[in-house]
Amino acid sequence: MLWNTLLLALRAIRRNLMRSFLTVLGIVIGVAAVITMVTLGNGATKSVSDQISSMGSNMLIVIPGQRFGPGSEGAPSFKSADVDAVRNQITAVERVAPMVNKTVTAVYQAKNWSTVVYGTSNDYFQAGNWKLAGGRTFNETEERAGKAVCVIGETVRNKLFGRQNPVGSEIRIKQFACEVVGLLKSKGQSAMGQDQDDIVVMPLRTVQRRLTGSQDINRLTVSVKNSSSIDAAKKQLTLLMRERRKISDNEEDDFRVMDTRQIAETLTSTTKILTALLGAVAAVSLLVGGIGIMNIMLVSVTERTREIGIRLAIGALEREVLLQFLIEAVVLSSLGGMVGIALATGASIILARLMNIPYLFDLGINLLSFLFSAAIGVIFGFFPARRAAGLNPIDALRHE
């Protein structure tokens, strides 16, 4: 019986090619839209969280001044002693990198490039999760003596050296020549859209002496031993800085401690909301597809009711008719589901490449859309048939 009914179902599909095609199309569009949107959303989330982890996790950034409100301009910078105090007095701290930055023009032969010089210590590479693509970091003498050496980012290498290996060459920054000792591995854009590779790193003392001409430090990058102690470290750091900067109890902080994990969470939750939103928009298209299918089915209900009447009259059992319609609905909607999944996979891979985000296969959403499409097909294809098959054959035959 199953085999024969399958044959009848396939014949019915072939007989009504246009209707079958429209049904499948409705499902294809809905399924493809939902899967593509969710997959791209997941990719975007992943790419944001990748960028965040490239920033380094378990990291605290301390800057002078409040982020909001007046007076932030006037807040004093940090000094080397602050760096030592943080390093020695807070146990949860792993590394502390001081930092001072200055926008400069770097020149190599005939090429020049405007970039930012960061004066810091070797700790910065660890705390900031940087890897070397070539060369080395600074040695102790270079750091202590403030030698004119630098490690450059991929963008700077690209602009000044092209594909050439920069290690060992000298670039000019302002009046002095600086030897490139290392090249950083590319990190790409930051979560905030900055090019993280547009960077020249020098020992702190070199920058202070030759570029800024002061002892000021305008940022501390602090890495914490493990993520569970990050809140404690933040609290201790705040207390220590208040004490060192002589802030009385009724005054507000004149510095700010930022937590990369916090930033990460905010950004990831934003992209997650975006994914959910895209998914919802796409779900509407799945629903619209479903309504389209319902329309097609309802328009053909008269013809199909008479068809059911004919089948019953020549001796089909009610359950055979139902099974045929069920198979028809399942075949069409799963065909639509499969084509939709294939289309979504292709579209997601291409779009992910264009948008420069990773492609992540999401089994859950694929299954869910597939089941949903099957349900739509079954509900709209099968239930009208069930009503018709329960009629007296003569009433089904006379239906108009």
């Binding site: 013809e303 009610e318 055979e320």
Partner: protein
């Protein structure tokens, strides 16, 4: 005598609707039909001919009364049992042909055989020979839209007799056809009656068509008014 009785209706009534709108279309039909008969049912429009045919064909159920088919009480059967009765014993021809649209003649004729579970080879062979018997051997791949009315009715006849039913029920089979085509269809039907012993119950308006039958039953207002053998005076 009683074993010859294929169909026996006793006190069949049919009421459409209920309450105020109730309308009694059949007011107690008693009828016995012998195996091998060719019966024409005549009567004015609205006299209950189709209603009776639908009950006989198990397409509809009577409101009261008893219907025995080969001794079995049809009025006590379940939907499925009635479906099996249609499948194994009955064939239908309708005024409006009722073929599946966009479906070839061969597939239309095959349909009852599929429900009977006949294997493909048998099915094809039987359907082709039925089409040949109605003179449509070369038309098996045509869909109803590509066939004339007469040809469509022939396909319907082929579909009805392909299972070699015991009874062929035809409700105004020539109602939509011109006189010449009607005669051809009647010739076919009486051939199946004569040569294969298929009992035929046919509703018709036209005395010309009723003349092919051996027995004519007249309906008036939901009752059998007259029942006569052809050639007898009424």
């Amino acid at each position: 005598m009683s074993d010859e009785t294929l169909i026996r209706l006793s006190g069949i009534t049919k009421t459409y609707g209920s309450g105020q709108a109730a309308f009694q279309a059949l007011k107690g039909i008693d009828l016995a039909i012998q195996s091998g008969d060719f019966v024409a049912i005549m009567g004015h429009s609205g006299s209950g001919k189709s209603t009776t045919m639908n009950i006989l064909g198990c397409l509809d159920t009577p409101t009261s009364g008893s219907y025995r088919f080969l001794g079995a009480h049809v009025e006590q059967m379940s939907r499925n049992q009635r479906a099996l009765l249609r499948r194994n014993y009955l064939g239908f021809i309708f005024q409006g042909f009722n073929l599946l649209s966009r479906t070839t003649a061969l597939e239309n004729v095959e349909l009852p055989l599929i429900y009977r579970g006949e294997p493909v080879a048998v099915r094809h062979q039987m359907a082709r020979s039925a089409l040949e018997q109605v003179g449509l051997r070369d038309w098996e791949n045509h869909t109803p839209a590509e066939l004339s009315g007469g040809q469509q009715q022939r396909v319907a006849i082929a579909r009805a007799i392909v299972t070699r039913p015991v009874v062929l029920l035809a409700d105004e089979p020539t109602g939509n056809l011109d006189t010449r085509t009607s005669r051809e269809i009647m010739e076919l039907i009486s051939t199946f009656n004569r040569e294969h012993g298929i009992t035929v119950l046919m509703v018709t308006h036209e005395p010309d068509m009723a003349a092919y039958a051996g027995r004519v039953i007249r309906f008036v207002d939901g009752r059998v008014e007259n029942d006569s053998r052809n050639g007898e005076a009424s």
